[in-house]
């Protein structure tokens, strides 16, 4: 699989130096918020047109609180940092200057992170900083939960 994507490196200027691998073909069926929740079949979004999937018991709004509630409903809680912790898995939420969520990444067993980039590809990136910048903003919240005994990869 190709690990060099000039368009991706143009949009995320830090990613080349931080290190990344492209890990899937293009797939518009799911977005980063779904992928962080280990779902690659649905597009998670609280849009007012009710096009995206969003749990009915969580506020359908584009806020960091609503997204945190979404992941809390899956067993995650806010934590301090993205360091690899034994028996825990983590999700990082990127926010823009208005605190609107722009992206989410999920930590892998290796300590690297996996991200779905829009309607495009999945990548693995060694650091969270690799995707920070004008497109996704900066990491604003990190959550963690205990690993399940059986886990889908």
């Amino acid at each position: 699989m190709a690990t060099y994507d000039p368009y991706l490196e143009k949009i995320f200027p830090k990613i080349k130096n931080e290190g990344y691998d492209v890990t899937s073909p293009i797939d518009p069926r799911y977005n980063c918020f779904a992928w962080a929740a280990e779902n690659n079949k649905l597009w998670y979004e609280p849009d007012y047109n009710y096009i995206g999937y969003w749990p009915v018991n969580i506020a359908r709004e584009y806020t960091i609180d609503a997204l945190i509630n979404l992941y809390q409903s899956l067993g995650y809680d806010i934590c301090e940092n993205g360091e690899l912790e034994k028996n825990y898995e983590k999700i990082a939420i990127y926010i823009d200057v208005n605190n609107i969520p722009q992206h989410a990444a999920r930590q892998l067993d290796s300590g690297a992170w996996t991200s779905k980039l829009g309607v495009d590809k999945d990548i693995q990136h060694k650091t969270l900083e690799g995707l920070e910048g004008s497109s996704y903003g900066n990491v604003g919240v990190i959550l963690k939960r205990q690993k399940r005994k059986t886990k889908n990869k």
Binding site: C32, W43, Q102, L117
Partner: protein, 148 residues
């Protein structure tokens, strides 16, 4: 959509003209009337063809720009607010067939535009967020409403 070329109309007109040129005055008058009618038909079809070509080219350019510019965006709202996407919505009902043709070829986030243009929603609640199922819902809607 079948490709409509301007040249495909011209040979038909020339054939009709040459058929009547070899006859007498009466035939010439008849030929003139027929030619006039043919020209009306040709001009109308030609104008329609030109309009369709222009709209198709406009749609293709806008769709290409939109897809390229938004492919890394995580939010459908941001994707739908792209100026090219909004311009496609602004094309109104003339864009529906092009959108559905594109959707039949590849899965893209046309659902927002289809909702906005048609004012309709064939997607059941249980299909929300499942773009493969939503795609089928809209293609069936397109068939049922004469757009495909």
């Amino acid at each position: 959509m079948p490709e409509i070329t301007f040249g495909s109309y011209i040979p038909i007109r020339n054939t009709r003209e040459s058929k009547y040129k070899s006859s007498g005055i009466a035939a010439s008058l008849a030929a003139s009337a027929v030619r006039s009618q043919w020209q009306n038909v040709i001009q109308q079809d030609f104008a329609t063809a030109v309009t369709m070509q222009t709209e198709l080219h406009k749609f293709c350019n806008l769709a290409f720009t939109w897809k390229e510019d938004t492919k890394m965006m995580s939010s459908m709202r941001d994707i739908a607010l792209h100026p090219a996407y909004q311009e496609i919505i602004g094309m109104g009902k003339s864009a529906i067939s092009y959108i559905l043709d594109d959707l039949a070829i590849e899965l893209s986030l046309w659902f927002w535009a289809l909702r906005a243009i048609t004012g309709d929603n064939p997607v059941p609640v249980t299909h929300q967020g499942d773009f493969e199922k939503m795609r089928k819902d809209w293609l069936i809607w397109g068939e049922e409403n004469g757009y495909i």
